[in-house]
């Protein structure tokens, strides 16, 4: 049994090591992209069951963004939704025999946390400009600037550690139990690991929304978001 804390290269392309997490991520990317193309190839106004299910996903993501960020979901839907979908699918990829979830590797979680860190800066600058974004560090008081700066780093690190710890520990425990008890014993733990994976995907996406919303709307009054979940009706 290899340590889950280490990333072993499957092969090298020149000096570049290609790990299993990267290979699985590419596979997941291919599957998600191909599935998206297949799903959106024939979208109709009267949806099929499959289309309705995927529209429900999009609508749910939009609803979460509205509820959490108090903003229109358009600019953030792709980033937040893709984070949730990728982490969810990556966590559940452990269902496939012989496949380890990429999120159980520190590099993948660090990449996700790094993207969130960059996205917070990107959306913050786009919303209020560089000075506006920097001004958010002075909220609620300029004295808080050092703490806010440290917080922007530590919360990113917490994202990394939270996701890595939960997923890695699940894989680690299952590996230990499997090596000690045998074939069918880890199944309840695997089911629990699936639940943990889904919850961690949700938590990661929610926290990403909270961080972005803090950078976008900090110091500004919250905007009233019209409820677009229901069609406007006229009497």
């Amino acid at each position: 049994m290899t340590s889950p804390l280490s990333s072993l290269a499957l092969f090298h392309v020149g000096p570049v090591p290609i790990t299993a997490a990267v290979i699985v991520t590419w596979a997941l990317m291919a599957i998600l992209t191909l599935g998206s193309v297949l799903v959106t190839r024939r979208l109709t106004l009267v949806p099929s069951r499959t289309q309705a299910a995927f529209e429900l996903i999009v609508d749910t993501v939009d609803g979460q963004i509205r509820d959490t960020m108090q903003m229109e979901p358009g600019p953030y839907r792709a980033f937040v939704g893709t984070l949730f979908v990728f982490i969810f699918v990556a966590n559940w990829s452990s269902l496939v025999p012989g496949v380890g979830p990429p999120t159980a590797k520190l590099e993948t979680d660090a990449a996700l946390a790094l993207l969130v860190f960059v996205a917070v800066i990107w959306f913050g600058i786009r919303a209020g400009g560089v000075l506006g974004y920097l001004a958010t560090f002075a909220s609620p008081n300029p004295i808080m600037i050092p703490l806010n700066f440290i917080e922007s780093l530590t919360r990113t690190f917490s994202l990394l550690v939270r996701l890595f710890g939960n997923v890695m520990s699940g894989v680690f425990v299952i590996g230990i139990v499997l090596s000690l008890a045998g074939f069918l014993v880890p199944i309840p733990l695997m089911a629990l690991d699936l639940l943990t994976g889904a919850v961690q995907a949700y938590i990661f996406a929610i926290l990403a929304m909270v961080f972005i919303a803090g950078a976008v709307s900090d110091g500004k009054p919250a905007r009233a978001i019209p409820d677009l979940s229901n069609p406007r009706t006229t009497s």
């Binding site: 340590s3 979208l43 792709a78 990429p102 590099e107 990449a111 996700l112």
Partner: protein, 243 residues
């Protein structure tokens, strides 16, 4: 524990690319379809609301038209009632006039019948009186009757105004004595003398018999007419009865 920076870079790029791919092939098309459906549904709802509004207005128009029909019907009924009342009044007036005309005609007819009946009754009464008078005259002594009538004639002549008597009985005047029965020639001289004495002259007197007198002696001339007979009396009685 190891940390592979190449893997970090790969995974960062991988997730960033995945964000772009899913934005391109999943989030954008699906959300666009949701928005399109919402727009379509909203448009249909707006159309439905507009059509419902049109239907409501159409119903209001129909209700107004129905109200107009009711009002028009009421006006027609009122006009019909008024026309019927007018016609009824006109017919009553016409019937009243016709009844008045009929009443007047009936009254005239009744009056005519009554007059005719009265005339017939008078005629029958006259005939009856004549018959009675004839029967009475037949039962009386002719000479005495003639003497009485001669006496009444003389008195009538004597009662005439002097001037009229002189004019009627002037010398040479021709008078006609009419009696119901012929006066015998022997008596005519006596009659001439009595009449002449009444006139105080000697007029020329001719005698003629007229049975229609029933009984009596009348004297007629150019300026004289003395009605001295039962026929004249009966005529006078009839005239008095008709008054």
């Amino acid at each position: 524990m190891t940390f592979d920076w190449w893997t970090l870079g790969f995974q960062t790029v991988n997730v960033a690319v995945l964000v772009w791919l899913l934005q391109r092939f999943f989030w954008k098309p699906v959300s666009a379809m949701i928005q399109q459906r919402r727009s379509t549904v909203q448009g249909q709802l707006d159309d439905a609301a507009a059509k419902r509004k049109e239907a409501t207005e159409a119903l209001a128009g129909i209700a107004a038209t129905r109200a107009g029909f009711a009002k028009e019907g009421e006006a027609i009924r009122t006009a019909a009632h008024a026309a019927a009342a007018k016609d009824s009044t006109a017919q009553r007036e016409q019937a009243s006039k016709a009844a008045a005309v009929l009443e007047a005609t009936a009254r005239a007819a009744i009056e005519t019948d009554r007059s005719t009946a009265e005339a017939a009754a008078s005629r029958r009464a006259s005939d009856l009186a004549v018959d009675i008078a004839k029967h009475l005259a037949a039962r009386l002594d002719g000479a005495a009757v003639q003497a009485a009538f001669l006496d009444w004639l003389v008195k009538a002549i004597g009662a005439m105004p002097e001037a009229a008597r002189r004019l009627a009985g002037a010398e040479g005047a021709t008078l006609e004595a009419v009696s119901a029965t012929p006066i015998a020639a022997a008596d005519q001289a006596r009659y001439d003398a009595a009449i002449g004495q009444a006139f105080g002259s000697r007029p020329q007197i001719t005698y003629r018999a007229d049975p229609s007198l029933i009984a009596g002696l009348e004297l007629r001339g150019a300026n004289l007419a003395v009605s001295n007979s039962w026929r004249a009396d009966l005529a006078q009685v009839l005239a008095d009865l008709k008054r």
